[in-house]
């Protein structure tokens, strides 16, 4: 008996004319991701996608984990397919749900009949299947209000499906349907969460990381690769661009007032990131800033940083507390990587008294002590690319 997955579309069904586009993207994503596990048939019909394993040795637990990380899916279920014959449906239900029902005390059966030519009505199906299961598992009782298990029988055009319970999907909308954006990633807890959060809203990602050897190490960069690899389990593959940032940091250190170090550094980062983003077809930047978390994340500091930005900057964590951010980072499995203690380019040279209310004209005056343009161009030209899969 082959188990399949039935996927209910999430917000997608609300999207009028774009629906086809959303659905196609979702199907493509599912096919690509599932291909890493084995051979599957992925088909859409009647606002449901069915995922059918084409290989006997596929472990459906792997498929469930994979699907649970695809954005655009509100909920899905493991199900078994049966012939459209009431006797066969009853038998299959008893066999397929044996373990689940043996562990339960109460249950009920719900039926959905989208093929109205099927000779029994929904209540009739429920009653028949329910009666059969009660006989087969005499320890069970029926509870229509709060059962341990809800057995659902769906009668569709070409087959019947039997399932118990729904699995929560990753929600959101399919990656790629919202365009592309570029995340600035340091290695801390916040930026991977920001990347994940925006990918959930349909954005395809690219990532920019700033490396300052010898102030930062290869391990710090490897840490970022690992973080992005974990984010990519949700967002799908992306490219990571590593920018050589040592010269710029040394210049700021040497020429500018220490108190402005972080803000000027962030302005350089934004400038470089948006050049790379524009070049690779991204339309926005993503950062992990959370308002007031550190000195460079106050309104005044963000205003100064934003003054160099020619594209929108998405800051999905702006209103979140650290605890809330950590909760998501644990959920997406990036937390333990993030807390590895390697220096990143934001922690070297932290000023003792950073400005929390910097004035833009002062920042610009300090920044003008550096001949920025050639430095920026050099950094952009020497970027190193890697594939994150």
């Amino acid at each position: 008996m082959k188990e399949i997955l039935l996927i209910k579309l999430g917000e997608i069904v609300l999207k009028g004319l774009n629906r086809k586009n959303f659905e196609d993207t979702l199907l493509r994503t599912l096919r690509r991701r599932l291909a890493k596990i084995g051979s599957f048939q992925v088909k859409a019909s009647q606002s449901t996608i069915t995922v059918k394993p084409m290989d006997d040795d596929i472990d459906m637990d792997d498929a469930v984990l994979c699907v649970s990380r695809v954005f655009g899916i509100a909920a899905f279920a493991r199900a078994c397919k049966a012939e459209k014959d009431l006797e066969k449906i009853k038998e299959q239900a008893g066999e397929y749900l044996r373990e689940t029902l043996e562990d339960a005390k109460t249950f009920k059966v719900e039926s959905k009949r989208s093929d109205k030519k099927f000779p029994y009505t929904s209540p009739e199906i429920s009653a028949e299947v329910g009666g059969y299961l009660l006989e087969k598992f005499p320890h069970l009782t029926v509870d229509v209000h709060d059962p341990d298990v809800i057995v659902t029988v769906e009668i569709r055009d070409f087959a019947a499906y039997i399932r118990a319970g729904l699995i929560r999907g990753a929600g959101g909308i399919p990656v790629g349907t919202g365009g592309k954006a570029c995340v600035l990633i340091s290695g801390g807890i916040d930026s991977p969460v920001a990347a994940y959060t925006m990918a959930k809203r349909g954005l395809e990602l690219m990532a920019v990381h700033f490396a300052s050897p010898p102030y930062t190490s290869e391990r710090a960069e490897e840490k970022v690769v690992e973080l992005l690899t974990r984010v990519a389990k949700y967002s799908g593959r992306m490219k990571m661009y590593t920018v050589p940032f040592t010269k710029i940091q040394e210049q700021i250190r040497e020429k500018c007032n220490e108190d402005y170090f972080t803000i000027i550094m962030r302005r350089f980062m934004m400038e470089i990131a948006q050049r790379l983003a524009a070049d690779k077809g991204a339309q926005a930047l993503i950062t992990g800033e959370s308002l007031g978390q550190v000195a460079s994340q106050t309104i005044g500091a963000i205003a100064c940083t934003d003054a160099v930005c020619r594209m929108p900057v998405f800051r999905p964590l702006l209103g979140m507390d650290k605890e809330e951010i950590i909760e998501i980072s644990r959920k997406i499995d990036t937390f333990e990587v993030s807390i590895q203690p390697f220096e990143d380019c934001c922690t070297v040279f932290t000023p003792k008294h950073p400005r929390t209310k910097p004035m833009l004209e002062n920042v610009i005056a300090e920044e003008n002590k550096i001949d920025s343009l050639p430095l920026i161009e050099e950094a952009v030209q020497n970027v190193k690319v890697r594939d994150i899969v």
Binding site: P213, P214, Y215, S217, E254, Q340, P341, F342, E343, F349
Partner: protein
């Protein structure tokens, strides 16, 4: 690029004799020492030869040597094993605030089970005084665990004074010495020093990682951490990792004469100190009384990690703090109350018999370069 390895307190290169031994034990004498047939007996003889080598260097009986997986396991076995064995006679443990984490965290675990612990703080030289130990040890003390040489600074602790202190206090305590950094470098005579338990590790003396020694004085009883076989007097059951243990035995046999090497190291250390003091921004954190194998110093204004990566790019390998702590602030320097700016830029070089003056010249050259070119925190 020539590689200059100055991180021998983190780990060492396996010496050729040990590597060859490991290969032979993996491909030829691969029997299980517990097997009754001749293949097993062959392996058992090799195992006992390694044990004799370890016993000899400690001036101990072979029956007092237990093989473990390394320093951490030896320390854990000693601390938990002694505390449990004597738990009816008292509940106090005396140790220092700058032990290796495999001692400190084990003692902390015991605290959560109701033991009381005293962590002696180091003085500015990074050691503790006899008086401080004397004051802490009382009748209720069941374990005194003090390292022979500190891993971050090379400071030597007064382990020779402890046995008398315990006895005078009328305490039933077992005395454990974490000798991971001292083993094979300075003469250790546990019997003479009244040490009951002593930990040592293979990979600090040009043996492979994954093997270690726990000396247990005849008559001292500890409760095992592991169960499931007769091996290693039931203290460390499980089939012995023969290739690692025998390679460690070979590494011990290959150690040069300790006195001669110590003299050579003193010269190398003095040379390194004098060259370091040529650099104005360098502050040497290790006191001159420290074991000459280790020098801890700071280059003011340049963070440890930055300097470490800079030197690594030039093929010179040193350590920031202790390698087990990767980037975490050093609890040893913290306990010594070293100025925060110095602790932030602390580096450790640690020598082995394979290091030369040329290595130090190269180190100094690159430190000067870094000092002149790297941007520093103001």
């Amino acid at each position: 690029m020539r590689e200059i390895y100055l991180d021998n307190s983190a780990t060492t290169m396996v010496c050729p004799q040990a590597a060859q031994k490991a290969l032979k034990m993996m491909t030829e004498n691969y029997g299980n020492p517990s097997s009754l047939h001749s293949k097993g007996f062959e392996a058992q003889k090799e195992l006992e030869a390694a044990r004799s080598a370890a016993a000899e260097i400690l001036n101990a009986e072979p029956s007092e040597i237990i093989f473990t997986s390394g320093g951490t396991e030896s320390n854990n076995t000693a601390v938990f094993g002694a505390a449990e064995a004597l738990s009816r006679r008292g509940n106090k443990i005396v140790t220092t605030a700058f032990e290796h984490s495999s001692v400190i965290e084990a003692v902390q675990r015991l605290e959560s089970r109701g033991f009381e612990a005293v962590y002696l703080k180091p003085d500015k030289n990074g050691t503790v005084s006899r008086e401080a130990i004397e004051e802490a040890v009382d009748k209720n003390t069941v374990l005194v665990s003090i390292m022979a040489v500190n891993n971050e600074t090379g400071a030597m602790l007064p382990i020779e004074a402890v046995r008398r202190i315990i006895d005078r206090a009328g305490s039933p305590a077992l005395f454990h010495v974490d000798a991971v950094q001292a083993f094979g470098k300075i003469p250790l005579r546990p019997k003479k020093l009244g040490i009951d338990l002593l930990s040592a590790s293979s990979h600090k003396i040009h043996g492979p990682k994954g093997a270690g020694i726990l000396y247990i004085r005849r008559g001292a009883r500890i409760v095992p951490l592991h169960y499931g076989g007769e091996q290693e007097k039931k203290i460390r059951p499980g089939t012995e990792p023969i290739p690692l243990i025998c390679a460690m035995g070979e590494a011990i046999k290959s150690l040069p004469d300790m006195k001669t090497e110590l003299e050579d190291m003193k010269k190398l250390n003095a040379y390194c100190r004098s060259r370091l003091s040529e650099i104005e921004n360098v502050h040497i954190n290790s006191d001159e009384s420290c074991l000459p194998y280790i020098i801890n110093f700071s280059v003011r204004g340049i963070r440890s990690e930055t300097m470490l990566h800079y030197l690594a790019e030039k093929g010179i390998f040193v350590s920031s703090g202790s390698a087990c702590a990767k980037g975490k602030k050093s609890h040893v320097l913290e306990a010594m109350e070293l100025d925060a700016a110095l602790a932030d830029s602390a580096l450790r070089v640690s020598f082995s018999r394979y290091n030369t003056r040329e290595d130090i010249d190269e180190l100094i050259k690159e430190l000067v370069n870094a000092d002149n070119t790297l941007a520093r925190s103001k």
